[in-house]
Amino acid sequence: MIELRQLSKTFPTSEGSFDALKDVNLTISDGDIFGVVGMSGAGKSTLVRCINLLERPSSGQVLIDGQDMTALAPKQLRQMRRSIGMIFQQFNLLMQRTCLKNICFPMEIAGMDAAQARQKGMQLLEIVGLPDKAGAYPVQLSGGQKQRIAIARALASDPKVLLCDEATSALDPTTTRSILRLIQDINRRMGITVVIITHEMAVVEEICSHVAILDHGRVMETGTVEEVFQNPQTEAGRRLVYPDGVRLDQLSAANVVRIAFNGGSSYEPLIASLAIDCGVKVNILGADTRNVNGQAFGTMLLGLPQDGTEAAKALAYLRAQPDVTVEEVPDYHG
């Protein structure tokens, strides 16, 4: 189990200090695939680097199976790091070593017998699906293959935890999916806890069981992927879950308004900007609109949120639009 307690990281910069992480509390259970998602610069890499202490937290604790990482002496820390594998966006393979030698590297570091390491390296090559690349150098591989070798290398020291920092961000969608499958497979077969850092919600959706949403160095919300996806509680969560605006099918309608378009721009941008500008989601209950040369005509029935202030905000926003007339429908029965 990985526990982060009141974790903060402050970087000194030329314009004073910068809080990259602020009071982060997270618990990652054994065997989970835990996603940490956030916009670029949210502090995701800093967070994951704090787990294996590549970055030393300014305050707070990192507990792995109850052991506080920040309290370890250098030698113990190195020992502990061997039970935490890590893969990176840029793969970070040793370019002057063959693939097999790359995979054997952690075992070499730990002082394992060379022949034994070699044998295990071959098995790992098999697991990641590249048994014929033992003698190849990284430069001869594609991005996806490099990441597979990096995964095999990370597994060589029999880790309990695998940290993935944007591991698929340099790969195309098909390769991304195959790498995610591999990670999922490893999680299931070996019971390794996986922490996935990504800026792509799709990655989380694909394989994670739990997710934490990170924004400006703070954990905004955390829970199972289903919970967070179905009902994001925070602005940061909604921005990530609905990058293109609102999902319209999950709201219950209370206050209903009819809006008429009198030849403005078409209606989708209006609904999207309503979500972005006011953070209010509305439900389209019915529509009879036509697009004539890019201009919208017709009427649309919208269900406003139950929350009174949100509904009022949406109403005010709609009324402020040019070429749109708004009329409340008091007794709508869907």
């Binding site: 190195r78 020992q79 890590m86 840029q90 970070n92 393979l93 370019m95 430069v139 290398r153 020291s157």
Partner: protein
């Protein structure tokens, strides 16, 4: 012109001159190899310290230590070689018992070249990808393992190229040492050539030095390229040209 031709003919046919030049080549090669080996060893150590010991290096050293190290290297780098050599000759007297001859020129060559090699090594080692160092740290490498198993092997081809450049630099320093009592082809060019108005001898000496430099350069470049696993075979030719160009500019430094 005729006179020069006559002198060259004399060099090529006169057995006494042959012996003289063979000795000169041997002395030059011997002094250069010995000084290069020592300077590279010393420079490698210093270069590693410079990279590893800096503030966010793999094994930071106390800031005052780094300051002193940098200062000494910069001072030694900025003293012109001939003057440094004159200053260091008393040391040769202590170390090898004489101020003149090939052996006496080796300690000054080492002291003059080591700081240069240290900077060359420093910039070479800095080329190692930070991400790779981080990965090694994440795998639980000790600082020593990072140096020995990651930084040095990953920069081996570039280090060989740096050693080649060092060899050539030391060769030219050695030729200058000929002016103040050193041995080798430099001495022949100055004592028997320049001082006796024998331009034939001077020319032959220079040609021999040029041949030596070319030979070492191509061996070094090919070796570096051969060991570089980052480039595919097809790209190696283009890369060869690139390296040679870089080395030419590297050699065009003040004080060399």
């Amino acid at each position: 012109m005729d006179k020069v031709l006559e002198q060259i003919t004399d060099v090529l046919t006169n057995p006494r001159m042959h012996a003289e030049f063979l000795d000169g080549i041997w002395e030059t090669v011997y002094a250069t190899v010995a000084a290069t080996a020592a300077a590279c060893l010393l420079g490698l150590l210093l270069g590693i310290l410079l990279v590893v010991g800096e503030k966010d290096g793999v094994r930071p050293l106390p800031a005052p230590v780094m300051k002193v190290l940098n200062f000494v290297i910069n001072v030694l780098r900025s003293v012109p070689f001939l003057i440094l050599m004159l200053m260091v000759l008393p040391l040769s007297k202590v170390l090898v018992g004489t101020r003149v001859g090939t052996i006496a020129s080796i300690p000054p060559l080492i002291i003059a070249a080591a700081p240069f090699v240290a900077r060359l090594v420093e910039s070479t080692l800095r080329e190692v990808d930070k991400g790779v160092l981080e990965a090694a740290q994440a795998m639980g490498c000790s600082p020593f393992q990072i140096v020995w198993k990651v930084i040095l092997p990953e920069s081996l081809p570039a280090l060989i190229a740096a050693a080649t450049t060092s060899f050539i630099t030391i060769l030219s320093y050695g030729a200058m040492a000929g002016a103040i009592g050193g041995g080798g082809l430099g001495k022949i060019a100055i004592n028997y050539g320049y001082n006796k108005y024998n331009y034939g001898v001077m020319l032959v000496s220079v040609v021999l030095i040029v041949i030596l430099v070319q030979l070492i350069q191509s061996i070094g470049t090919h070796l570096a390229l051969r060991l570089d696993r980052r480039v595919r075979l097809a790209e190696k030719k283009g890369r060869l040209r690139e390296i040679q160009k870089k080395e030419r500019t590297a050699r065009r430094r003040p004080g060399i």
